[in-house]
């Protein structure tokens, strides 16, 4: 006790095997870091985490960020929010695979400073504390060089000549704080348990309108295949409709053995083209173009022409093979054979798919097969394709998708993969977590207010918001939902407004704009489906909703609020059939409200409750509401608005709300 030895404050902090500082409950993190979080270029990525330690010392924390292709971490400041929760933010300027983590440390000088300051205010004797503070500066100087070292040297040179109270003032000087922060020892630097991954995609991953078609049915002769040239002729119209992505079902040679006929007949008649999903014939497989559609040069011209119209081409990636796919002869080891030596076709008893066979993903030649499939994707990327719609991914191993998407995006981070998995919810989410950029969804069958609200609340308000971006398809070649079969034109208008405004990414399969509703009775299948035959469409047939779609897509393009997904909020509507919701940008410069009559058969009347406070509008304030489908502007006042929606006239209203004084020259009330 009588010995004079001093324990400098830094020595308290030598590290142990377990970090001294607790860093836990980090958000967002998916499956303990097993799966990446997703964001879009330009997003501000927020990270929240609990940071604390024993005792009362002051902590510092940094958000670690490693952008794609970097080997070094950059460190961004985090701030204490409340209740030991800290937050930091990364501005995302690069697409690709980012990493992030968190570091924290005890800020010895700030801890000293706070204690010192409290003691000084309490009028304590300070000699020992001044000695401690001086030792901290001295130790920091030993670590520093350059200007910091000079500044500290200057500080200490005069220090000892000063009076106790002058020294106290010096130690508490504001100028000393940044100097000491830069030269902090951080002896107990603690790091979050894991480095986490963040996939940043290009904006089309979140905001895009898709138009699906069978290129062979874009012509004028029902007895033969249309060509890519016919497709090019269709581009101006699809551009006018306002679509961003033109998605083609498979464009490859179609098998002849066990080819399916019209309406899924087990045997094709001569001249019938078969299903484009039965990929591969003697002409080639997944990297070959069906000769009837054109050549690879034609395809290149198509891609270029689409780009000229502001659109990109998305291809179908369907792994199954027709029985005469060249791979089967060249690589029988990639397939499964039965005891009698015949190849095993796809089946889900009692259903049979005799025109396709599946590959054996976990056979002994796994590596060669997986690489061959990757090469298919890379081939089309080489031909200018950046978006792939993947057929039935839930019947292929998750491990394969994780590997494939990671490999492809490492070299081509702009690539978008859309998962066509209409399957059980957890598999749907697992595919998104494994890397799919977008996912088909249950939207197609969600019709009622409660269903839509619950489903969208799950998608936007639970953990899957961090990795699953839905693409709301109103219909597909396989799905003509009952509401469209029964509800007529109002149902087509209503469902596309829902798809296009609830989700930032949505799609239609062609014919939708014509309100095509001819189904095989008691099924969701189209009658005379394009899947099994050539088809000629009258793109201007009466009753079409092309203008309606064009206006809707224009509203999406002109309103940034509609280009986001997670900003969706539901609002009060007194009628059980009228759904009311809205989206706004974070800065509230763009606010869109949407009301949809979900009943295609009857007019309904409702009282809407507008979110005045969220919109930054006072209860007594007037504000403009521009009808986005007509351009007409009205002046509104108060949170309650009465609305009559007659589906025969128009089942949905979209308004852009503009607080008065900014614009708003309309007259009358809603």
């Amino acid at each position: 006790m009588g010995r004079n030895f001093y324990t400098p404050r830094t020595a308290l902090l030598s590290s142990s095997s377990e970090p001294r500082i607790v860093i836990e409950t980090l958000y967002p993190e998916v499956d303990c870091g097993r799966n990446a979080v997703k964001r879009i270029l330009g997003d501000s990525f927020e990270v929240w985490v609990d940071i604390f330690r024993d005792g009362h010392d002051v902590l510092g924390a940094a958000l670690l960020h490693r952008a794609p292709g970097r080997t070094q971490w950059s460190r961004l400041p985090m701030r204490h929010h409340d209740n030991d929760r800290w937050v930091g933010r990364i501005e995302l300027d690069d697409i690709g695979l980012h990493s992030y983590s968190v570091e924290a440390w005890t800020d010895i000088f700030e801890s000293f400073r706070r204690e010192f300051s409290a003691k000084r205010e309490a009028g304590f004797e300070l000699t020992n504390e001044i000695g401690e503070g001086r030792a901290l500066v001295e130790a920091a100087m030993d670590r520093a060089d350059g200007e910091d070292r000079s500044a500290m040297h200057g500080f200490l040179k005069n220090f000892d000549r000063l009076s106790v109270s002058e020294r106290a003032v010096q130690l508490l000087a504001e100028e000393l704080r940044p100097l000491m922060a830069r030269q902090a020892s951080r002896g107990d630097l603690s790091r979050y348990a894991r480095d986490l991954e963040l996939v940043v995609d290009r904006p089309a991953a979140r905001f895009a309108a898709w138009y699906e078609m069978f290129p062979r049915s874009q012509g004028t002769d029902p007895d033969r295949s249309a060509t890519f040239e016919d497709c090019v002729r269709r581009l101006p119209e699809i551009e006018r409709l306002g679509f961003d992505v033109l998605y083609f079902v498979p464009i490859h040679p179609i098998g002849r053995r066990h080819r399916k006929g019209r309406n899924n007949a087990v045997t094709a008649e001569p001249g019938e083209p078969g299903s484009p999903y039965a990929i591969g014939a003697k002409e080639g497989g997944h990297t070959t173009i069906h000769p009837d559609l054109g050549t690879i040069e034609d395809f290149r011209r198509l891609v270029e022409a689409a780009a000229g119209h502001g659109m990109e081409i998305a291809l179908d990636f369907a792994i199954q093979c027709a029985p005469d796919h060249p791979w089967i002869a060249a690589h029988p080891e990639w397939f499964t054979f039965r005891p009698d030596g015949t190849i095993k076709y796809a089946e889900n008893p009692p259903k049979k798919y005799q025109d396709i066979v599946n590959v054996n993903f976990f056979g002994p030649h796994r590596e060669a097969l997986w690489n061959a499939l990757k090469d298919v994707v890379l081939f089309w990327i080489g031909e200018g394709v950046k978006t792939f719609r993947v057929d039935n991914p839930h019947t292929k191993p998750i491990a394969f998708w994780r590997w494939l998407i990671r490999e492809v995006k490492a070299a081509h981070p702009e690539t978008i993969f859309l998962s066509e998995a209409f399957t059980r919810p957890k598999m749907m989410k697992a595919l998104a977590k494994a890397g799919f950029t977008q996912s088909y969804s249950y939207f197609t069958w969600r019709n009622h207010k409660q269903e839509l609200t619950a489903y969208l609340t799950e998608l936007t308000g639970t953990e899957c918001r961090e990795y699953l971006q839905p693409n709301f398809f109103t219909n597909t070649p396989d799905i003509l939902p009952p509401i469209l079969q029964q509800g007529g034109r109002p149902a087509f208008q209503m469902r596309i407004v829902l798809a296009a405004t609830l989700s930032s990414a949505y799609g239609i399969y062609n014919g939708y704009e014509l309100c095509e509703a001819d189904a095989i009775p008691d099924t969701e299948e189209y009658r005379n489906s394009e899947k099994y035959q050539y088809k000629v469409w009258d793109w201007d047939r009466p009753g079409n909703i092309k203008d309606y779609i064009a206006r809707l897509n224009r509203a999406r393009r002109e309103n940034p609020a509609l280009q986001q997904f997670l900003n969706l909020r539901f609002y009060g509507s007194s009628d059980e059939q009228i759904l009311f919701y809205g989206k706004m940008t974070a800065d509230r410069t763009n606010i869109v409200l949407v009301a949809v009559n979900l009943d295609p058969f009857h007019a309904h009347e409702t009282t809407l409750t507008l979110p005045l406070e969220e919109m930054g509008i006072g209860p007594e304030e007037s504000f403009g509401a521009e009808n986005l489908m007509t351009g007409e502007t009205q002046e509104w006042h108060g949170a309650q608005q009465r609305l009559h929606l007659d589906p025969a006239h128009n089942p949905a209203m979209l308004w852009r709300v503009e607080p008065a004084g900014r614009k708003g020259d309309g007259a009358g009330r809603a």
Copy 2:
């Protein structure tokens, strides 16, 4: 294609680097396996997990369990619950550190069987399928030995002689299923990403009533210390009160330098004993008994005598040292010194604790210090102590506690550590996660219906239920809460009923049974606190609630429902001041309902809504309600019961509900 080669079904399943089967979202799991889950001996431990894979095959899953001291895993069956969620259960027969995880595999034979059965029903030709099934049995036979091998051999011997339809029947025979399950290849056996830990404690970790006292104040002379012998004389009374744990504040020699006087005076007068938390003097430190209390032999006698009365002794583990603790001279490297060579006492500016100094947990001699602290705990375990109340653990590193508790419990799994951390919520939880068996809580300051309901719902209904067992103290030597200072005897009755029935573990600090409410004005401190002086209590003084406490503790012992914590449910009560809740055993053989008037000043009347359905009682059925404080039984009928609670008479009612026909001989209505 013409080649005859067969891909046996097993080959589909050779493993890849990533498991084929997704096993995720396991519950319970704390912080990605970083922290253990806790349970009690005799509990049935349920594990829930998502398990799925691509395609339609049938899966099997096992819950892996490794009991303490075992090197081998045992495998328990899991069953599919719904929506890809599986559940398994472990019956906990040993205290100590258990491990658990999950395995899943594709059940090839069951997958074949389901498909085969569907095809057979659909009337398909089955030759190939029969060949596949036969190959599966053959492969299984090759793996098997003993009886299974013989059985399969027998199966195959006759098989080929049978007709196709007979062979189909054979392959679908029930007897074949367990045989094939036992000899399954499990080629794609997948394992959950982590092995998880489960701490199983003895029942006292969850169910115990604590009685805290200063052994030196259990005598009759206010001028000198009582002894362990005096404590022994107190045992029959504390047993009568119904307590299980007798908790002593520190029993070690008390420092003389800077000793505190009465009411926390900076200087002690001659003869004043000082705070028992200023541990250590020339007589010894943490493993020495204060000579005034007795000898180690006296202590042993006390432990034995307490056991004879059905109680165990809990000791305080307070790490700080008085300035004259022997460790300071022997191990100055364990402490912190100031620039002038004096030792640094504890402080939280402007507060000073001159009578104690803290150890330096992360100094260069960390290992020796940590081991010395562990040796203190082991020393008292050697003297028969199994429970430690730990003083202020939140000012010591989490890493230290994790290490200490793990080390101690590895050798002595019966040890219970109670964390006395009245600190921020996340630190409180972090200590529980690091290993503390029980935790002090905010209960002491939760008085209103909404506060109590919200807090208990957090404790029993969020993730912390998996690792944090609160011990509800009504008061402590440091905390005489305002409600007790102001509310008089009714408040003392009301708060102990809450503590004893909301939580399965609770405690009082002595004097509570006497309704001691003498505070230093505007503080929560007792006036003339036992912390700084000897005290003599009149244990029979008028107005005491000893009988009330005895009846309450008897009700706890006689009703298993009150011995659990997570079974707490709140029920409807129309009056804002009357809280109504209940607990029942899983089999509903024991049901206890509790109504408490939270207002100690006024009578209130309420309509209670009884959970008839949860209790298994029909809306028209009569049932008995035994008043657990009086033993009187009434007959009730219907969900609505009117209740008047006058705190002057009795602020709380406890009923044991017994559906009619089982008991119920009372008369009249509530």
